[in-house]
């Protein structure tokens, strides 16, 4: 399955990570196109059901990216997200879902290159994890 390209869904908080990814674009930094970005007001807005539905409906990986702790535009959104997804991360691993498939990151609006490096590493890891067979999907 060498030519297989993973599909990754990214939930990016509008104030920091989305702006950071946008900056990576304006700086013309190259990074793999596998991530499909969904803009959310805050990383705290992301519901674990979103992650579950992505993984079940064909995404090979999900990334949630928000502002660094203390930078949140709504001051505490990323605190709730941190707590919520700490539990989800371990729970997915317990169920047998490859931990590389669900990742979280803090990327501020000025960290364009951190975003690009992050995506490069992320795509590499998910390529090793292989196609997502969850939800009884036979096709890769």
């Amino acid at each position: 399955m060498k030519d297989w390209e993973p599909k990754i869904v990214g939930f990016l908080c509008n104030w920091c990570s989305y702006a950071g990814a946008d900056l990576a674009g304006t700086l013309r930094i190259e990074y793999p196109p596998n991530i499909k970005i969904i803009r959310v007001p805050c990383s705290g807005r992301v519901n674990p059901l979103f992650v579950l539905k992505c993984l079940m409906d064909g995404a090979d990986g999900v990334l949630i990216s928000g502002c660094h702790i203390g930078d949140c535009h709504y001051s505490e959104g990323n605190f709730y997200a941190r707590r919520r997804f700490a539990i989800l991360k371990r729970f997915f691993e317990y169920l047998g879902i490859d931990p590389r498939r669900f990742q979280m990151s803090w990327v501020s609006a000025s960290e364009g290159d951190k975003w690009a490096k992050l995506i490069k590493v992320l795509v590499e890891e998910i390529k090793q994890a292989g196609p997502n067979k969850l939800g009884g999907r036979k096709d890769g």
Binding site: P48, L49, L52, K53, M56, I69, E76, F79, Y80, R82, R83, R84, F85, A86, I87, L88, K89, R90, F91, E93, Y94, L95, G96, I97, D98, Q103, M104, S105, W106, L118, L134, G135, G136, R137
Partner: protein
């Protein structure tokens, strides 16, 4: 000993202190218990209390909102009431909690599926490590006269979770997909759980349809994961979901995993303090972030 219980119920009803007493009565097969709802004094002598009273009656409290309710509650049932109070689902002054010192209830599931001669079946697994025989909250306590055999406390309540954690990723996925493939989506695990009180459950929503209604791999896996996620920091391990599940899915092994993580990550245990803020509606500066890049 059940006499004091009946007298207390009669007294409450006579004094109009409560409109209804929710308790246990003998089921129609003469052995098991069944929930019962006493609203007139005369019925109070139906009340019983013994090791067959397995049910967590706090699941019925949401049906009688606004009424004064007397409820017979074991230690684990009271923990559910505490979480419901924490989440503003009940008013403490509407409740008269008749606490019972619980010696551990019978393992009703093994009773059903083991050979049907009803030889002595040991205590439910959830009761073995239970340290809280006396409820944390009550308005009146029924003293348990003779002490039924208290089972040893050294039983590690997370041993089945640790056994699963020791397995490899692929083995765990195979195990859980195998278990969830037998789920018939009867939603008894949701209906029996005191914490599941949403007016319209995520599973019943059509716009958006979060996951399929059909009993395929995707629908079953998603449902069981969704149910567990929504209990993070709220499940007090009354064990009713696993007992109700007709196809024997080890639901407690799922709830206990999240309970163990929540304890390790945030040092939080559900159902201990009605004033404390629920787990996911607060945060702490020192919350772990090692998994965040």
């Amino acid at each position: 000993m059940a006499e004091d219980l009946k007298n207390k119920a009669r007294e409450l009803l006579r004094a109009r202190q409560v409109d209804l007493v929710i308790g246990y009565k003998r089921a129609s097969d003469g052995i098991a218990a069944a929930p019962c709802f006493i609203d007139i004094e005369g019925d109070a002598d139906k009340l019983i209390w013994d090791a067959y009273c397995v049910y967590n009656l706090s699941v019925y409290l949401k049906d009688f909102r606004g009424k004064k309710i007397g409820i017979i509650a074991k230690a684990c049932d009271v923990k559910s009431i505490i979480v419901l109070l924490q989440e503003n689902q009940l008013k403490r002054e509407d409740l008269f909690i008749i606490g019972v010192e619980c010696p551990g209830v019978i393992d009703e599931k093994r009773l059903c599926f083991s050979d049907r001669q009803y030889q002595e079946v040991d205590r439910a697994i959830k009761c073995r490590p239970c340290a809280s025989a006396v409820p944390l909250l009550y308005d009146w306590l029924l003293k348990e006269k003779e002490k039924m055999g208290k089972v040893s406390e050294d039983h590690d309540k997370y041993d089945s979770v640790r056994k699963l954690e020791a397995k490899s990723l692929a083995e765990r996925l195979k195990f859980w997909e195998g278990e969830f493939s037998r789920c018939i989506r009867c939603y008894a695990c949701r209906q029996v759980c005191p914490m599941c009180y949403c007016p319209k459950c995520v599973a019943d929503q059509a716009m958006p349809a979060w996951f399929p209604k059909a009993t395929g791999d995707k629908g079953n896996f998603s449902w069981n994961v969704t149910r567990a996620i929504h209990l993070a920091g709220r499940c007090i391990d009354c064990g009713e979901c696993e007992r109700a599940c007709p196809v024997g899915i080890p639901l407690r092994d799922i709830n206990k995993k999240i309970e163990k993580d929540v304890k390790e990550l945030f040092n939080y245990e559900a159902g201990l303090n009605a004033e404390r803020k629920p787990l996911l509606s607060c945060f702490d500066k020192t919350d772990p972030a090692d998994f965040i890049r």
